[in-house]
C-alpha cells in the first residue's frame, strides 16, 4: 500500500510506539513493517470503479483486495474483515448487484464495476427494508457479521426472484420460492459467531413476504 491512509498511519503509529517501549528500537520498526507490506518496487496500478454511486479513482499496490480498497483506501469500514479467506462472509458486498466475498478478489480486477456496500444500501435516516427488518427482529448481537449478512440477504432474495436454484430446491426446473429452508441454505456462506441465525431468518422472511 503505497498511499497509507490516515487510518492506517495512526494505527501503525500506535503499534510502533508499543514496539518501541517493548524492545527499545525506534525508526527501523516502522521501516521494516512498511517494507514487509509494500515490497520495495511494486508499481501501483490505476483502477476506477463506482462505489455507492460515487466514481472512485485509486492507484493501488496490485495486492490490494477489494475489501482493503474499500476499508483502508475509501474508509468505507462498514464492510468487515473476518477470516480474509472466503470462509465467513463478513466481507460480502454487491458487485453489479451480485454478492461476492470482497476479500478474495483484487481491487484491480474491478475496473469499471459498480459496487454497493452496506453504506450504499441505506442510510441511518433512510434504511433499506432489509436493514430495518434486521433492527426490528434483532438480527445481530455484536454486529460484526451484520453488514455482510444484510448484503447477502438482499442478494439472496434477488437470486430467488431471478430463479437461481439452490442445493435444497426439490425440483431443479421449478421456480424456487423464498421458503425458510431455501433462505437458510443460501445464507450458509455468512457465519455469525453470536448465533443470531434464527432472527436473521425472521428478518429475511419479513422482507420476502412483504415483497411477494
Amino acid at each position: 500500500m503505497s498511499n497509507p491512509s490516515e487510518l492506517e498511519l495512526s494505527r501503525r503509529g500506535v503499534l510502533t510506539v508499543g514496539a518501541v517501549t517493548a524492545i527499545g528500537v525506534s525508526a527501523p520498526v516502522l521501516a521494516a513493517s512498511e517494507n514487509a507490506t509494500t515490497g520495495a518496487s511494486t508499481p501501483t496500478i490505476p483502477v476506477s470503479f463506482e462505489v455507492n454511486g460515487k466514481a472512485e479513482h485509486l492507484s493501488l499496490d496490485p495486492r490490494t483486495t477489494l475489501l482493503d480498497a474499500l476499508r483502508e483506501h475509501l474508509h468505507l469500514t462498514g464492510t468487515k474483515k473476518g477470516c480474509d479467506h472466503g470462509q465467513c462472509g463478513a466481507c460480502t458486498v454487491l458487485v453489479g448487484g451480485v454478492r461476492i466475498n470482497s476479500c478474495l478478489t483484487l481491487a484491480a480486477m474491478h475496473e469499471g464495476d459498480t459496487i454497493t456496500t452496506i453504506e450504499g444500501l441505506g442510510s441511518p435516516e433512510k434504511l433499506h427494508p432489509m436493514q430495518a427488518a434486521f433492527v426490528k427482529h434483532d438480527g445481530y448481537q455484536c454486529g460484526y457479521c451484520t453488514p455482510g449478512q444484510i448484503c447477502s440477504a438482499v442478494a439472496v432474495l434477488d437470486e430467488i426472484k431471478r430463479g437461481v436454484p439452490s442445493h435444497v430446491s426439490a425440483n431443479l426446473t421449478d421456480r424456487p420460492r423464498a421458503t425458510g429452508a431455501e433462505m437458510r441454505e443460501r445464507m450458509s456462506g455468512n457465519i455469525c459467531r453470536c448465533g443470531a441465525y434464527s432472527n436473521i431468518a425472521e428478518a429475511m422472511a419479513e422482507v420476502a413476504g412483504a415483497r411477494a
Binding site: 511494486t42 451480485v98 466475498n101 431471478r162 431443479l172 456462506g189
Partner: protein, 317 residues
C-alpha cells in the same frame, strides 16, 4: 502476499503466450482459489494475467447436440442455466452443493477444475508436502488424513481433488478445450485431464505451461435420472468427505463417478457395468485395490452407503 505485477488481458493469444513464456506468470479468473493460496504464500506468482475481460462467458449449443460452456462462465450461471438444469441435472446439483452463494458467483468453470487440494498440510508452509515443495515429504501420511484419498494415491501424496463440479463432469464425459501461446488448440477428455499423484504430486493436471482453457464441452444429453449426493461434516458450505455423481436409466443401467476419494474424480468402467447389480457390486469394483489410512477407512463403507442412497433416490423419482 508476495509482490507481483498485474495486467488485464485483452487477447487470449497474448495472454497464453505470456503465461507460457514469463516465468511465474499465472492467469487469474475468479481468484477464489489462487488468492486464497497467495495470501498464505503457498502460491507465489510473480505476474498475474486477469482473463476476465476475454469473454468465454457463454453457454452455447454444439453441432453434436451437446453444450459448450465458456471457461469464464460462473458456477452460479452454469448451475442456473435452464439447459443444464433440465438435461444435465447432475452438474447443476454438484455445483449447488459446492462452496457458498458468494463464492459460486465468482468461481469460474476453468478455475473450479484447476482448484488445488484441501489437504491441510498443503496449506501449512511449516509442514512437509511434496505437492507444495517437491521432495520435502508428505506429512499427511501418518498424519491427519481423515479427509484424504483412499485410492489411486502414492507413497508421495494421498491428497484428493476437492471439486464437486469435476465429479459431475467426469460422469458426463466432458471435454476440456484449450489454446496455447502458439495458437494451437486441443481437446482433453476429462478422464485424462487430472492426474494421479505418482512421483509428481506437484503436477495436478496435464495442461502445459501457459495453456489456456477456453471451454468445457458436454456431449448430447444422456436422459435418465441425475443424482449428486454429497456427504460432509455439515449440511452446507463444506467440502465432501465422499460424493457420488450418477446418471441412472429406468432399466437400472447407468454410470457413476465418486468424489472425495482420489486425486481425481474417480470412475471405473467395470463399476458402470455393475450398475444394475446394486451398491455392493458397484462399490467393490470402484474401490478395488483401495488403500485407506487408519483415519479415513470409513470412506470405503461410506461410498457403498452413499451409492445405495443414490440408487433409491433415482428409483423414487
Amino acid at each position: 502476499m508476495k509482490a507481483f505485477t498485474f495486467e488485464r488481458a485483452t487477447s487470449v493469444q497474448d495472454a497464453a503466450a505470456k503465461a507460457g513464456s514469463v516465468q511465474g506468470a499465472r492467469f487469474i479468473a475468479g481468484g477464489t482459489n489462487l488468492l486464497d493460496l497467495m495470501k498464505i504464500e503457498v502460491e507465489t506468482p510473480t505476474h498475474l494475467i486477469d482473463v476476465n475481460g476475454l469473454g468465454f462467458d457463454k453457454i452455447e449449443k454444439t453441432r453434436e447436440g451437446g453444450v459448450r460452456i465458456g471457461a469464464l462462465v460462473s458456477n452460479t450461471a452454469l448451475a442456473a442455466d435452464m439447459r443444464i438444469r433440465r438435461d444435465y441435472g447432475v452438474l447443476s446439483r454438484a455445483l449447488l452443493a459446492g462452496a457458498s452463494g458468494q463464492l459460486r458467483n465468482k468461481a469460474t468453470t476453468a478455475g473450479n477444475l484447476l482448484q488445488r487440494t484441501r489437504c491441510p498440510y498443503f496449506y501449512d508452509t511449516n509442514q512437509a508436502c511434496n505437492k507444495r515443495k517437491p521432495g520435502s515429504g508428505c506429512a499427511a501420511i501418518g498424519g491427519y488424513s481423515r479427509q484424504l484419498a483412499v485410492i489411486g494415491s502414492s507413497d508421495k501424496c494421498i491428497a484428493t481433488h476437492p471439486s464437486d463440479m469435476a465429479v459431475a463432469m467426469r460422469v458426463l464425459d466432458a471435454t476440456v478445450e484449450t489454446v496455447d501461446g502458439a495458437g494451437q488448440t486441443r481437446t482433453i477428455p476429462i478422464a485424462d485431464f487430472h492426474r494421479l499423484p505418482g512421483d509428481t504430486p506437484h503436477i495436478d493436471t496435464n495442461l502445459k505451461a501457459g495453456e489456456f482453457i477456453t471451454a468445457v464441452t458436454l456431449p448430447r444429453p444422456l436422459g435418465g435420472e441425475h443424482v449428486y449426493e454429497k456427504v460432509r461434516d455439515r449440511a452446507s458450505y463444506a467440502f465432501a468427505l465422499v460424493s457420488v455423481a450418477a446418471v441412472i436409466q429406468r432399466d437400472g443401467t447407468g454410470r457413476v463417478a465418486v468424489g472425495g476419494v482420489a486425486h481425481k474424480p474417480w470412475r471405473i468402467e467395470a463399476a458402470d457395468a455393475a450398475m444394475p447389480q446394486g451398491p455392493q457390486a458397484i462399490a467393490s469394483r470402484l474401490l478395488a485395490g483401495a488403500r485407506p489410512t487408519h483415519e479415513n477407512a470409513f470412506k470405503v463403507p461410506l461410498v457403498e452407503r452413499t451409492l445405495a442412497a443414490v440408487i433409491s433416490e433415482a428409483r423414487a423419482a
